[in-house]
Symmetry: C2
Subunit: 320 residues, 2 copies
Amino acid sequence: MVEMELAGAAERLLASQKPVLTVHVSPDGDAIGAMLGLYWLLLEKGCRPVMVVDDSVPAVFQNLLGAELIKPVSEEQLDADLLVVLDASDDGRIGRVRQMVAPGLPVLNIDHHVSNTGFSEMRWLDVRAAATAEMIAQLADYWQYDYAKTGVAEALYTGIATDCGFFRYANTTPRTMRLAARLLEAGVQPNVVSDRIETQPVQTVSKLANVLSGLEMHSDGRVALISIPLDQYDPETDSDSFIRYPRYIEGVEVAVLLKSVAPDVTRVSMRSKELDVSAVALQYGGGGHKRAAGCTIPRPLDEAKAVILKTLSEAIDNGL
Amino acid sequence: MVEMELAGAAERLLASQKPVLTVHVSPDGDAIGAMLGLYWLLLEKGCRPVMVVDDSVPAVFQNLLGAELIKPVSEEQLDADLLVVLDASDDGRIGRVRQMVAPGLPVLNIDHHVSNTGFSEMRWLDVRAAATAEMIAQLADYWQYDYAKTGVAEALYTGIATDCGFFRYANTTPRTMRLAARLLEAGVQPNVVSDRIETQPVQTVSKLANVLSGLEMHSDGRVALISIPLDQYDPETDSDSFIRYPRYIEGVEVAVLLKSVAPDVTRVSMRSKELDVSAVALQYGGGGHKRAAGCTIPRPLDEAKAVILKTLSEAIDNGL
């Protein structure tokens, strides 16, 4: 595999006439924002890029400039000379897009995930970047792109802001903020982007009220737990973000979100301040990062709750 | 009144040997952060600044470097040659601090509020600054302060971040972000600052659940209303921020928070996307900005609710 830096990747991209751009399934703001940004940069450079994603574009990102040009997966065979895989750390994450291009097509992977598996012939990986969109914003600076279209800057800003929690996460660096400043200069309105991202359906707010009303404190206030019982589970409502509420309670070391997804299946998400919750998740066949991990326990909600609370209590007592 | 820019204010500050620094009552992150930042800058410049506030420092800011040096108001007469009033737009906002210094002491006001009344002999007002701390961070750059103490950068970062909603509000400019980038370079950890700011007591989360469970949608989903009845009203719990939940619901034009603070007194807060809610508030003797306004209605919660919903419904129909 050829490892590339910004300059090398820029050169390789320009050598392509008909690149196909794609991102991971369940695309987030960074995947969509980075892809749209690169699309407009390449178009301005005289390439004829095509965007394909094996998933639908979330409604919240459909207003971004060019989002309507993103093709869904189909039987069509694309005439391409390069496959650019953005924001995906693993080959399997792009779904059936591979089937739409010739089997031997060279692949350039542009990504920022530490977990990147190195699946492509060429890779531009920057794990210090808060977002893949941050890498594309660097590319724009490198090419002295003038952001005549504010929409291009807005797509990149959306990508950066969503992946670093609006500059609140640890991955936010001085570079992240300077590139974001550049995008604001190009006309991006930070409040418009954040309004769009933070607006949610009334059902989600009602569900939040419901879930928070069941907040439980355990282990002398060091564990805060919320749960979604089976009769309230609704895969359409985004409840993953609810874990931030127990997470940000004074004195809480570990926040837990339990979701009953089937009578005997409970999904567990954990967030901690210091405790290594990936070690806890690992005991139940899950994984993740030190401070954000999850697992699936093949038991009903109440049993899963008892099991995980016991394990967490022991882990806290042992200073794990 | 003498209007000053950065350079003039810098010069005036250095001409003072014993400046007293103060901020408005109910000090927020920007007031405390800007004052602490200026304190350390002046100390390094050889001045002997003293900080006094006619209020307690909120717990969430007590960890900031030097917060323990902030004096409460007392009978003490301070030997000072300049009173520096930070982040306060009006004389009355600094409480009894004036009584601690000589009556004729010159006052330099450093502020970023459009509503600044021009109460002081000297004023450095920058309404384009997202925060007073942003102005102090500029001063630090002007003086080529090296941020040897990360805590100084952290105080300024806290001030900036809290006043621009972690770079999500419309007041965030490219300059805001570049100065914040500089502070990150000085060692500020954005996640540590945001964790500290966003952590809340378990009572607040329980109260949020309770209040959100009473969410009401009116005017075909264009008005979202939450309320805190008298028996649940608790001035100790910060419930003002709850209005963001109805505010960020899809299709909502106006969010309303009603607080029953006495049997016949209801406080009304409103946030809108486009509608001029200050005009609505004005009808009931209140005021505010176009998209964020409030008033107090001398009626019980239910009556106040009916009144305000009717007024809002008419305002929406008339496209007010």
